[in-house]
Amino acid sequence: MKRYELIVIGAGPAGLSAAVEAANAGMSVAVFDENARPGGQLFKQIHKFFGSKEHQAKIRGFRIGQQLLKQAEEAGVEVHLNSVVMGIFDLGEITVQHGDGVCHYKGDSILIATGACENMVPFDGWTLPGVMGAGAAQTMMNLHGVQPGSRVLMVGSGNVGLVVSFQLLQGGVEVAAVIDAAPQIGGYGVHAAKLARIGVPFYLSHTIVKAEGTDHVTGAVIAQVDESFRPIAGTEKHLDVDTVCIAVGLSPMSQLARMAGCEMTEKGGAVPVVDEYGQTSIPGLFVAGDVGGIEEASSAMIGGRIAGAAAARRSGYLPEEEFREKASALKASLGQLHEGMFSPKNKGRRDLTVTDEGYLLSKTLLHHGYLSEEEVAGFPGAAPGKSAGIHPVIECTQNIPCNPCQDACRFGCIRVGDHMTALPAVAENARCVGCGMCVASCPGQAIFLVNDEEEAGTATVTLPYEFLPVPEKGAKGVALGRDGRVVCPAEVVEAKTAGFMDGTVLLTMRVPLEMSMKARFFKTGEGTK
């Protein structure tokens, strides 16, 4: 039976981060994962992450995954794929299925980082081919390069539903609508805004009643719900779709922790009770990542590092003093991610009405996915009163831990401040040169460059564009407003990108002067669907 100082179960962001931390401290580490590829859900994330520089903000999820794998390799971590950990037993023993045989291993410390699985909501027709988890759609598209369908209904408006909907559009798949039984959008407003400006409708307080079809989905019926989430007769709407994606939350896959006999508690599912470093009630058995409570990849990676360091301390590789310093710094970093409107302590709250600074939270954003023009002008990022020359307009109106915009501008035009949950503001005397760095750096794609050309009676609007085909210079089309409706004719002035923008194109369009604070997306041609 082969013995390791640390066995990690799950090669996702938490598991790999822990393995790297422990291996760098000197431990012999093996990671076991049942999948053919490492990285867990990380490689399917093609959007830029939020947070700050230390949280790897504005880097796409899959690139963070590639970096993590490289670090694991360099640190000498053994990663065993296609290896199912079938059981966990006393004294740190596990049994693993590799191919057609079973091996036993022993770990001085064991870290369970098995992640979470998608929740389901059953409805008439939910077993038809074409109804799948949002994660399944992501997997088929981003890992295997095949469209999951041609027209999708997304059920669930949390970040997973919003992000996957955008990814579907990027993969050339139509999104007929995003629905949620709740009365407001569950995920970040900026993620919803990206969809709304392309014309994707949101139906809040709606649920799916039926998926139609004999052998596969050919349509769906949705209906409005009452306060008890029961469908209201007579409100049924039919949608022409061939795919239904379900994004209604995640539950921890904590079977191994239960098998080991950990003391469990309830946190969106059964999770082990842990100390501040992730150690369960069983000494030497740790958990990290979603299996300990659903958050996201950024927190999973920090949580993994904390647990890895704790395992290293336990085996004597990290002196107590050094461990406490390291753990303290990591916990502070993790703490930053736990702040803001969407922090764990605010989970499920629908009674928030103002931002930390006292600005009124946009109701249309929460209910329809877009800000009204009047609301935008009221926020510090929209630079009210500053209209001479090119300047950024930042449509970021919720407190989220995120600040790459501040770092992006080398002229100091954008300020978030020491607390990265603060709303970004455009400096009074900002000397914007129109480089577009801020536009490309915003993970929420919420920054635009606006230049009112008073004399010509026109204005240019520069927006982040991440679709194919990229409209060419001179292309004529229409500009869409924040709600996805055509607002005016538009012409492409420029479409440029650079390597470090990692695929984000800066698209500049010319519109009538009075449309500069309305036009937010470009469509070639008439813009009709």
């Binding site: 699985c117 988890g133 994660g135 759609a137 390069g145 469209q147 596969h216 991440e466």
Partner: protein, 111 residues
Amino acid sequence: MMRIQKHPILDRIQKGRQVTFSLDGKPMQGYEGEPIAAALLAAGVRVHRYTTKARQPRGIFCAIGRCTDCVMVVDGKPNVRTCVTPLKEGMRVQTQVGISAKKESDDHETI
């Protein structure tokens, strides 16, 4: 469903060589090493099996090998999870009915 030829963000996904396999006796094309389910989806095939009790159609649901809805009979073996099993040249894939292969002489069943 179409294969994504060019993606705005992702680099071209590395695929193995093109290979031929069969679905219920019919020749099909796919890329060596990709999940059987991916090759089927790209060819527009969505029904993988019919359930034991109610003979209801099932296909891809979780796509990561956990839900077992996508299982088919592969090279004579039933309950093979097609979303995590790599395609090989000459594989015999059959629509599963209950836990056996659909007879090739059967017409396409509808409920």
